[in-house]
Symmetry: C2
Subunit: 156 residues, 2 copies
C-alpha cells in the first residue's frame, strides 16, 4: 500500500460531509503512522475484506465537531454524544467507506465491507492491528478536528 | 441470528484465555442487546464478511483484567495499557474470531475476517451498528470483567 490509497477515503469523506452537513474539513498531510495515535471522542470503525487484501478503516471526531455536524444535519444540537450521534457516525463510516470502495474498485482493488462499529469515550485512541502500513490523515476545521486511518494487509 | 450464534465466540474465548493465560472467565447470561452498553478500558474489534452475512465482533476488558492477562502471558505486569497490551488484545480478537469462524463454518456459516482494531480509553463504550440483533455476553473474573458482543446482518 502506498499513500495514494488514502485518497479515495479522503475525497469520499470531504464529499459526504459537504453533502450531508455543509461542513468543510481541511485535510492535513497524510502520514504513514508509526508512533502517532489518533485521538478523539467518537469514532467509527469498519472492516474490509477482499480477494487481494483485508484491512480496516476508522474515522475519529472530536466531540464538538461531531455535535456540530449533527446540528447541521438535524437543525438541533445534542448536549452530548448520544445514540443519534453514534448512529450518524456509523452512517458516515458506511458512506465514506462505500465511496472509497467504488473509487478503489475502478482501480481494480475490490473489497466487501463489514458492518460499522462506533466507539464513544473522551480521548480514546485507536490502533489498527495489521501487518501492512497504516496511513493516517488529519483534518482540521473551526469546529474541531478529525482524522481518518486506513490499514490494509498485503495490498500490492 | 439467535442466541446460539454467540456460543462459538464464547467457547473460543474461554479456550484462548485458558490456553494463553491460564485465565478462567465465568460467563454470564447472553442477552439480546437493546439499551445495554458494553463498557471497558480496552477493546478489540473485528469485521466479518461472508456470502450470507456481514457483521462485527468486539471484546472489551476492564484495565485490571487486561493487565493481569498480560502478566500471566509474559511474567511481567505493565503499569498501564501500552502497545504490548493493545497488541495482545488484537491477537486475542483474531484468535477468538478465528476459533468461532471454524465452529460456525462447520455449521455452514462461512465468513472471512477483516483485520482487528484496538481501542483504548478509560470507560469507553462500543455500539455495533447493524440491522440485525446484537448479542452481548458478560464475563466476570476475580481480576475484572469482560464482555463480548456479536452482531450479524441477515443471518438465517
Amino acid at each position: 500500500m502506498n499513500v495514494e490509497f488514502i485518497n479515495p477515503f479522503l475525497s469520499s469523506l470531504i464529499n459526504v460531509l459537504a453533502t450531508m452537513a455543509q461542513t468543510e474539513l481541511t485535510p492535513g498531510k497524510p502520514k504513514v503512522k508509526k508512533d502517532e495515535v489518533a485521538q478523539g471522542d467518537v469514532s467509527g470503525l469498519i472492516g474490509m475484506v477482499g480477494p487481494q487484501t483485508k484491512g480496516s478503516f476508522s474515522i475519529t471526531f472530536e466531540e464538538n465537531l461531531a455535535l456540530t455536524i449533527m446540528e447541521r444535519m438535524l437543525g438541533e444540537r445534542p448536549d452530548s454524544i448520544n445514540e443519534d450521534v453514534t448512529d450518524m457516525v456509523g452512517e458516515i463510516t458506511n458512506m465514506v467507506t462505500g465511496g472509497a470502495k467504488n473509487l478503489l474498485g475502478e482501480k481494480g482493488y475490490e473489497f466487501d465491507m463489514a458492518t460499522p462499529v462506533v466507539v464513544s469515550g473522551p480521548g480514546h485512541t485507536i490502533t489498527h492491528k495489521c501487518d501492512g502500513p497504516k496511513l493516517i490523515m488529519p483534518f482540521t476545521s473551526p469546529d474541531g478536528n478529525a482524522n481518518i486511518e486506513v490499514s490494509f494487509d498485503k495490498l500490492a
